[in-house]
Symmetry: C2
Subunit: 122 residues, 2 copies
C-alpha cells in the first residue's frame, strides 16, 4: 500500500456514516450486503446518499461491489483493511515499538473479541 492509497483509505474512514458502514460490512462477512439493506441499517438514509458514501469507500479501496440480480452487493475488503493496519504501523508509525508493540499487545491482551480471553480473566 502506497501513500496515496492510504490517504484515500483514511479519508474514507474519516466520516461517521462511512465508518459505520465499514463496521457493518466487516460484520456481515464476505457475502456482503445489498446497498439498500445497508441504507436501511443507516437510519434509512437516502439512496443517493448511500451511493455517494459507498462509492467513497470503494474509491478508498475498503469495499468491493458486485451486481447480484437487481441489487448491488457491497463487501468489506479484508485484505485492504489488513494492509491499512500494516501501513499505519510500518509506514506511518515507522514500526516504532511504542506504537506497534503497544497496539499489538493491547489487542492481544484485550482479546480479538474484546473479551480478555488471553491474559486476563473476568
Amino acid at each position: 500500500m502506497n501513500e496515496n492509497q492510504a490517504l484515500a483509505a483514511f479519508s474514507a474512514l474519516s466520516q461517521e456514516t462511512r465508518l459505520k458502514i465499514t463496521r457493518l460490512l466487516v460484520t456481515a462477512g464476505p457475502g456482503g450486503m445489498a446497498a439498500g439493506a445497508i441504507g436501511q441499517a443507516m437510519d434509512g438514509a437516502s439512496s443517493s446518499r448511500m451511493s455517494f458514501h459507498l462509492n467513497q469507500l470503494e474509491q478508498g479501496g475498503l469495499v468491493t461491489s458486485r451486481r447480484e440480480g437487481r441489487s448491488i452487493v457491497y463487501s468489506a475488503d479484508y485484505s485492504m483493511l489488513a494492509k491499512l493496519v500494516e501501513f499505519l504501523m510500518r509506514d506511518c508509525c515507522q514500526g516504532h515499538p511504542a506504537v506497534c508493540d503497544a497496539a499489538i499487545a493491547a489487542f492481544a491482551c484485550g482479546g480479538p473479541d474484546g473479551n480478555a480471553s488471553r491474559s486476563k480473566q473476568a
Copy 2:
C-alpha cells in the same frame, strides 16, 4: 478511544501534508520538533499553513505541543497512535482474523524495521 476520537484521528491523517508531518514526528522521537523546523521539512510551507495543519493534528489527538523558549515544539503522541491502531483492529474491523491476524503477521514477518528480520533473509 471512542468513535469520535477515531473520526478526528482519521480525518487528521487523511491529508498529505499531515500524514508526512506525522511520520516526521514519529521519527523525531519524544523530543519532537519546533513548528518552524517542521515547516522547513515540508518544502518550506508557510507558517500559517503549518499552524493550521499542526492544529488539526493536535485536535485529532495525534500530536501534542509545548512551548520551549520562543518555539513551540510538537511531538507525536505514541500512545494515541497505538490506540488508533487498536481501534482499527478491534472496533472498526471487529477483531476479524482476516484483518487483524493478517496485519499482525505481515508486520511481524516483514519486520518492524521493514527489513524482513524475522522470517525472511535477503
